[in-house]
Each structure stands twice: as C-alpha cells, then as structure tokens.
Amino acid sequence: MPLVDFNLQEALEQLSEPETFPIQDELDVSQSSASEINAVLNSA
C-alpha cells in the first residue's frame, strides 16, 4: 500500500482554491460522466 506524500500545511494552502487542488489519477466526474453517475446512484 503506497503511502501518500502528504504535508498538512502545503495541502491546506492548496485548498484555498479547491477547484485547482492537485490530485493524482483524478476521476473525471466533472465531465460528461457526472450525469450518468448521478442517474445510477439515484436509481440505486
């Protein structure tokens, strides 16, 4: 299990703009898949 490279102070500074917070292997939920995911979850 690879441990995350995390620094609290740096992460909080980056969180000042959540829209640009850097994430590795980021899921594309903000794009076209979001509506599909919502539909599936709402019908669960």
Binding site: L3, E26, I37, N38, V40, L41
Partner: protein
Amino acid sequence: MTAAYSREHVLRRYIGIVDAVADSSDAITSQQTFDMVASLLKHGSTLQPAALLKLLDCLQSGGTCRSLSLIDLICRFIGLSAELDATVADAHPSDHAGYRSHKLALEMYAFTLRFFILSAEKSTTSVGPSSPVKKGRGRGGKAASTATARSKKGKEAKPWEWADSVAPTLGLMGTVLHRLKTERIWQTTQERDGFVGRVLRFLCQIRKLTLD
C-alpha cells in the same frame, strides 16, 4: 492528469474506498484511497449530494437504502471517529511511538474534513429524503438515526441543509481536541500549534457561518 473513466470503474472505486476505510481507518494514508476521497470532495458540487449519500448508504447497509445524514457520512465514511478511537487505544504511559504513529492519518482526516466542508458549502442543496441531524448525538447515533428514519416513514422529508450538520460537526472536532493528547503526537510547539491552530481556526470559520 484527468482521465476519463467508465461508470462501472467509478462505482468500483467507490466501493473499494468504502471497504478500505471501513476495514481500517488508516487506509486514508494510501495514495489511491486519498486520491479517490479528494477527487470526490473536489467534485462534490458536480455530483449530486443525494446521489453520493444514497450510494454510501446502500454500501454501508447492504443494499437497504436507509437515509444518511451528512454527519453520518463524515463519521463513517471519512472515518475520523474510528481513527480517533484507534489512536486513543494505542496510548501507553511511557512509550508514545504507537500513539504517534497516527499523526499522518489524523492530519489527513482533519484536512479531508476541511475539504468536505468546502464541498458541502457549495452543495448546500436538498438531498431528498434524509434524517435531520440530532444535535449532540453520541455513540447511539446509528440507532437514533434509524429510529428517526422509521418515525419519518410516510411523512414528507425535510430537505437536507448544511446548517443542520454544523453543530454535530463542531462536536466531532471538539471531541478530537478533547480526547487527543496532542503533545504526544506533535512534539514541538510549532507542530502542535500547526495542527491545533488550524483545527481551531477551522471551527471558528464554521461558527462564523452559523452566525452569519
């Protein structure tokens, strides 16, 4: 770099992180789990809160879609309470290594909680049928939540609002600060002030929101 994933891939990843955190609260310290949690929080305003809560509800209750409040999500999914319990259980009068080993996970939970609040503030819309949070709820939360859900059966549900979850969120963070022996984990004043100061500042921000 953002990658396009299939719906099934996303759902599998959801299930994976819920299982991982439920199995062990320090799973948050794995790169894959943290990235998934952060990605969900980052796009919390894009995914409908109702959809996210319902999925987690179904996963936690084995397919029986019982309503979840936001504080349930924080406590069960984010796992801060479980990590706090694990830390306290590792307390030793003279050997603080085990206690100190929870530092990374605690900092990451504090961070994800802060991230969660930002997302919740953006998504402060109705999530459909949901149990209103009972202020000051303690360990009997699950039973109380279930009872509340039952009593509401057949009635029109009150739309969820972030403001309903502010008090229990403050209570959770207060419990963290009360139960932790912070000097054993953050050994320098600078480190300790960094964590405690940031948590307290965060609480003040929430309190300001409730007063505005």
